[in-house]
Symmetry: C2
Subunit: 310 residues, 2 copies
């Protein structure tokens, strides 16, 4: 039977890894020869969830092999965030919760995007729609994805659907939502062993905004000042990245998961766009504290795209 690969975006986060695992399972239960995959290293937060629910990480792939008939994208649709040879493969399905951009197919497909906080919330519905029961492990993985994307239901991207799904899934998974959630987020916020290069790549995404190429990296922490002890090295890595990729702007976002705000560092010719987008002033260190800003998707990409396209 023709093989189908299910994967999320590069620099995988918890939603991307867990949604690939769980949707591949649903497809298998519905009769498809589906396998989950990932496009990069598993981060500490995700590893905490996988360990807790005793699930193996999906296979790491660099490109889609010739034995694969079609792919299913979860948690992303923009080609620059996907596998390198995405343009050479048939995309059969997309299940996502992001804006739609830089995506196209030759043929009709099943494309399902909903403006909720997490892909896992949509997958929880799809199990019900198909009358398939979620195992304890799969419920735990979907719950972990929601906690991650919503910063424990506190992000402005979090909808009532996400909240309801999280409570439902915590019950099936048999965990205390608050306690499990904080433990998982803190496991991810441990940046003590990260190099400057790792900090700016571990959760980085590239975006097209107007004619500009913008990369935005985000890390979660409980102490932003610790992260910025490496500022000189971080800036050197960012500048190298800007010249390698021809970026107009690189924005490094350090999000405090206890205070729910972000201290950002901007480099590149587009620095002024950051000030414009957030009505903020970058200090002498190229940094600004953005109060209440925690969501790359809903608060940062939208504001910057506005600044670049108006």
């Amino acid at each position: 039977m023709s093989k189908q690969l299910v994967f999320g975006h590069k620099n995988p986060d918890t939603d991307t890894i867990c949604s690939a695992l769980v949707y591949a399972d649903l497809k298998k239960q519905l009769g498809a020869n589906a396998e989950p995959a990932r496009l990069g290293e598993v981060n500490k937060e995700t590893q905490f969830a996988l360990d807790y629910f005793k699930v193996d990480a999906p296979q790491l792939i660099e490109k889609v092999g010739e034995d694969v008939d079609s792919v299913i994208l979860v948690d992303h649709n923009e080609f620059q965030q996907s596998v390198d040879n995405i343009k050479d493969v048939r995309v059969a399905e997309v299940v996502d919760h992001h804006r739609v951009s830089n995506f196209e197919t030759k043929e009709p497909l099943y494309f399902r995007a909903e403006p909720v906080g997490c892909t896992a919330t949509i997958l929880n519905k799809m199990y019900k729609e198909n009358g398939v029961e979620l195992s304890k492990e799969n419920a735990g993985l979907l719950l972990s994805a929601i906690i991650s994307d919503s910063l424990l239901l506190k992000s402005p991207t979090c909808t009532q659907e996400d909240v309801d799904a999280a409570h439902e899934l915590a019950e099936i998974a048999g965990v205390d939502l608050e306690k499990y959630g904080l433990d998982m987020l803190q496991a991810g916020a441990d940046l003590s062993d990260k190099s400057a290069r790792e900090l700016i790549t571990m959760d980085a995404k590239e975006f097209s905004m107007g004619d500009a190429k913008v990369e935005i990296a985000q890390v979660n922490t409980v102490d932003a000042s610790k992260v910025y002890e490496l500022q000189a090295d971080i800036e050197a890595e960012i500048d190298k990245n800007i010249s390698d990729k021809g970026l107009d702007l690189f924005l490094f976002v350090v999000t405090d998961i206890l205070n729910n705000d972000s201290e950002v560092l901007a480099r590149g010719e587009g620095k002024a766009k950051v000030e414009e987008a957030f009505s903020a002033t970058l200090d002498a260190n190229n940094r600004a504290l953005l109060k209440g800003v925690v969501s790359r998707k809903k608060q940062i990409v939208t504001a910057l795209t506005d600044a670049y396209t108006k």
Copy 2:
């Protein structure tokens, strides 16, 4: 309450008009301030359906007004097929059954595309999912859309879901599927009063294929030779269109709804791509008979895109 417009593509066909009418009704029943609209003249086939079920055509718009908060696209997603100021408005939803291309948003949205033969088939499901009952009139409109897009369930784009929906809807609408379907298709196939210009514009769509701009117009008939009595005038109109829009190729597709094949006429620099795509030879009149080809979407756009991008 903020106003939402629901509309399909330019050069509206029966699926586009009926899906806009019926989805606006569903949104209203669910509490939205939604209004259906259309981007062009109602064709004879669609008018037959509207008259039969005693429903008024939606309002004609040239652009989205400033009083509109967001729009819902049905039966299309490619911006070049949409309203002229589509890039200035917020797209809140898409319900479609075509490939995804030249579409992007700044924010997450509800995007639902499924690889079925007709938007109306998806809307029929959405009524059920939302527990809303279809009126006799709305069932008749959805049925008309399926008959139109599937050439009475004979097109290769027609799936089992479309067939099942058509039978279900015919029952609610209280019509005989075969008889009503043939009457409606024949009303649309009456081209006797059409000028050459009308023939090439009444159901024309523009596509990006690789770097090429391609326009494909399709008419249904019961006698292709009648249409080609106007060939000299048709070619003159096509050539004008090619130079006005800077097209690489214009393909005029005359589909015989009784024999289920198409006689095509190709003009423009990309003529050879047509021969390549269909392994056919254009005769001295730039025409070729494509046996069994009736679907622009599934048989023509895909084959031509392959020829342009390989």
